[in-house]
Symmetry: D2
Subunit: 155 residues, 4 copies
């Protein structure tokens, strides 16, 4: 779970370009705050439009940033001509998303030729302190040789 | 998985009022299209702001509507003085979200005093035909006697 | 989720032969009671050696039969030269396994070239009545062209 | 995920006594090799009776020891008059269970009054080296004031 070597020396530019193509990331106000080999971080400032019925961050926002942070953690290790699909993920919500921002950190557990297993923790930032609010475990599928723009495929 | 009796005769108004308090549902353009005892349906029209990098519905949107549809399926069976929290869910994405709208259908598998297990299927509507794009399995926790507005609690 | 056409006309013999090679199935006293295209059923009679601390069927036995029933449901649709691996599964335990036998029923949700998504319900039989005790959602990977005996591979 | 204080000073004896009451642990040849506050370890030597169709450890054995290791990690933090139920878990199998023994390590992610979230990693020992073969994420429910022998309850 520690050090991975990326296949693509331009992995950061590759991940950032893909992130920018996700209309939903802009709609959430999400920012990709870190990209390292096998690790990424996403941050979403609080906004009333992102809330559940109590005014806290919606669980769907937690799930989305967990999915995306873990997905790009996996994607960061792949070749430029590959793309990646989320096969499935599970998320446990362990505390309400009450605070100024969500921070999701994704990391690769086990990279694979076809499937990569990743995880993410989601923290809520409140008065400058991070508190774990969700944890997720994800499976990704590599679409080898299907660069992103032309990939309409499915598993 | 079929017929459940709601504790609250006004379950539909109760669920609809809670849904309206979720800022994130408006931000997604989501509509609560059906509410029955132990079952709900949510619909989200396609919008560029809801997409992943290929221009299809984002997996995070699928996860959100699965979570909410299944959550309100559970909530529809509870008393007016109860509120509900998502403990966890798992989602398998089985096809790309390519189409004009997402339709999520949630249903209760097993209601319980403390925990309720639910599921949801998410379909994408394309040229008038529904295609399964995701399926989810969820655990909910009932917060007995904590009506929604005053509940800041956690599991 | 209903009718699937098997690639292998001898799917039942194929599944039964693989089941017999699983030493753990004999150790559990498990029997493969039904094999249909995309569906299987497994039954395990109660035995003190299969219990948790209260004397009921262990959750690990429920998980095992859910995994195997869903796995062979997927396998039943594949070619004779393919083998299958469980990528992951999630199980919700909704009632104690108190009774004379466990019955697991697996079915395919969506077959795929590489990945197949399946589900299983586990029932406990008590005084002749079935009660749902667990439900599971699973991802399988097809190892194309790797017949079972020679497959040491991984995802 | 680091240091937890147990409610029960005799947590180790409590966990070991419960483990011994699980008939299935003896049937697997499983040994509880470590018990610490919020952490446990289980070991299962290889046996032909624990295998899948390729002669490796069965995924159901991995799932069982992940469930039990994570479950007792949670249980170790509870009072003597509490018991614990597995609500659900998800497991990703990332490598075949090919080796001399399985070692499952469970730990608490977030303890709670009603629900506790835990995780486990499962390693296979081959020629003296540990290799990750599965990782799991679990939800537990505390049955407060229901000591183990009298608890027939469910969620």
């Amino acid at each position: 779970m520690s050090d991975f070597a990326p296949d693509n020396p331009d992995f950061e530019a590759f991940v950032r370009a893909s992130f920018r193509r996700q209309g939903f990331m802009a709609h959430l106000g999400a920012e990709l705050t870190k990209v390292a080999p096998g690790r990424t971080e996403i941050r979403v400032p609080y906004d009333r439009r992102l809330t559940q019925q109590h005014g806290f961050f919606h669980g769907g926002v937690m799930a989305t940033v967990a999915d995306v942070a873990a997905g790009y953690a996996g994607n960061s290790l792949m070749a430029a001509e590959d793309s990646v699909l989320t096969v499935e993920f599970k998320i446990n919500i362990v505390a309400p998303g009450e605070g100024e921002a969500l921070i999701a950190r994704g990391e690769v557990i086990r990279p694979g030729r076809t499937l990569t297993v990743t995880r993410a923790d989601v923290f809520v930032l409140k008065a400058g302190r991070e508190k774990l609010c969700a944890t997720a475990l994800q499976t990704l599928m590599r679409m080898a040789g299907k660069a992103e723009r032309s990939d309409n495929g499915q598993a």
